[in-house]
Amino acid sequence: MLTAIEIEKITHELQQVPVKKAACIEALKIVQQQRRWISDESVEDIAAMLEMSTAEVDSVATFYNLIFRRPVGRHIILLCDSISCYVMGFTALRQQLQSLLHINYGQTTTDERFTLLPNACLGTCDHAPALMIDEDLYRDVKPEDLEKILEKYS
């Protein structure tokens, strides 16, 4: 079931678009903001509200990199793996993150604190390597900086 807040926010989005379907991505963003991820049930609920089939909503939900169709942790770590970060040493960052968190790409720590994901270009190539945690961008990151950075997130 969508919550009252979710329904209110999606209704607001529906007022901005000429056809209901056009609010699909915004609706997914709204639900994910509340619940961290999009469950099968959420797909059905959004489909019902937007008068779309569940398959159609799922096709959109699975297309975009930052809509999560599986549970994720409280904080998302996006490690930039694009070319400038490759040249400037993202591999060492990945290894250090994996050893600090004991997880691989796509996994979540057992305490649900972090999910580690690779991310295509963060657009800060002059300060490579870079990573983002939730809304915070970290640039020119060295492996030895990581422990301190992670401490900020509970």
Binding site: K21, I25, K29, Y64, I83, S84, D126
Partner: protein, 426 residues
Amino acid sequence: MERPLTQHIPDSGAALHIREYEAVGGYTALKKVLREMEPAQVTTLVKDSKLKGRGGAGFDTGMKWSFVPMDMPGPKYLIANADEMEPGTFKDRWLLEGNPHQLLEGMIIAAYAIQATDAFVFLRWAYKDAAREMRRAIADAYTAGYLGKNILGSSFSLEMQLHTGVGRYMCGEETALLNSLEGKRATPRAKPPFPQVSGLFGKPTIVNNVETLSWISHIVNNGGAWFKSLSYTADGGTKIYGVSGRVNKPGAWELPMGITMRELLEEHAGGMRNGYRFRGALPGGASTDFLTEVHLDVKMDFAGVTAAGSRLGTGTMVVLDDHTCPVGFVHNLEHFFAQESCGFCTPCREGLPWTEKILWSLENGTGVPADLDLLEMHTKMLGPGNTFCALAPGAMEPLQSALKYFREDFEQHIKEKKCPYAHHQH
């Protein structure tokens, strides 16, 4: 040397506020357009300036606008493509975060030229600071009467929305962007019809890059001849160039169009870091062909880079140094393209992962000589004309040029059954 696009961006990195923007002449071009010019005159002015799109393809901006059927009833749309996600490209971030009103003013004038009713900024998810600044700038522009109904007392009205994406490289392709704005998967559309005639929700739509739109107010204020005079070459204006990789001062700079690769690398990027030698560079982001040492005097404009066998693209260069494996470098790029392929057409969906796997096997010492023929085959099978959009042909540009310029590295991987750069891996 004039730097019209970036001269007012504060060194602090904070965005220029609406009052500060007005104090340096901001929104005077919009006032002039609304009071003195017909929509068609604005399009003609931009056409005469020969402003070419700064998003990668380099299409003539005024020409694009002129394809909009002006007598068609109903809504028309203007979209700023701020979905900057090409690896190695970080130029629009500077404009979005530093001078959001310059983009807005350009958008409002562009919207007036095509008589658009609604405008969108399609901004990539990762640009959180830009999203905050754009949201504030749009709100301030409404308050000041530059957006909304009857702008500055004229008969022209425009609504503006910020749309933040949810991460997919394909969204930068203009027709895929339209599908995404319609709430769908970002797959490209067949052309024709072109978006200028049938775009967002089937209505006439113009999609322009952030850097392109940021030029419009300056061209209105100063004219096409002035725009052309800023450049060293036939392509007018300045360009925001960037350099990343193992150089002393990676960064982005607004410089006259047509500056050479050598000047960019040596004067602005401070040359190679101590102990590293320049081997090549992608001159305009991940989807451009390598240029090498012999090309250092190539002029970085549309014609110059094309004549050298590559593309200006976004004008942001990624440098390959002698400690970085060219095969690993290209593998990283093909991994990106394989991952970001929308899967809509078969050659791209199947060919890019295959390409990536071959490169990975070379890096891991299990490559065989026939792999190089397979890679060559892919550069043709995934080349222009064989796929639905430009993603796969773009992906083949760095690969085909790496096979040409760094062939001995590919062969060495096969012969030694390992990556010869492994001891340099970072």
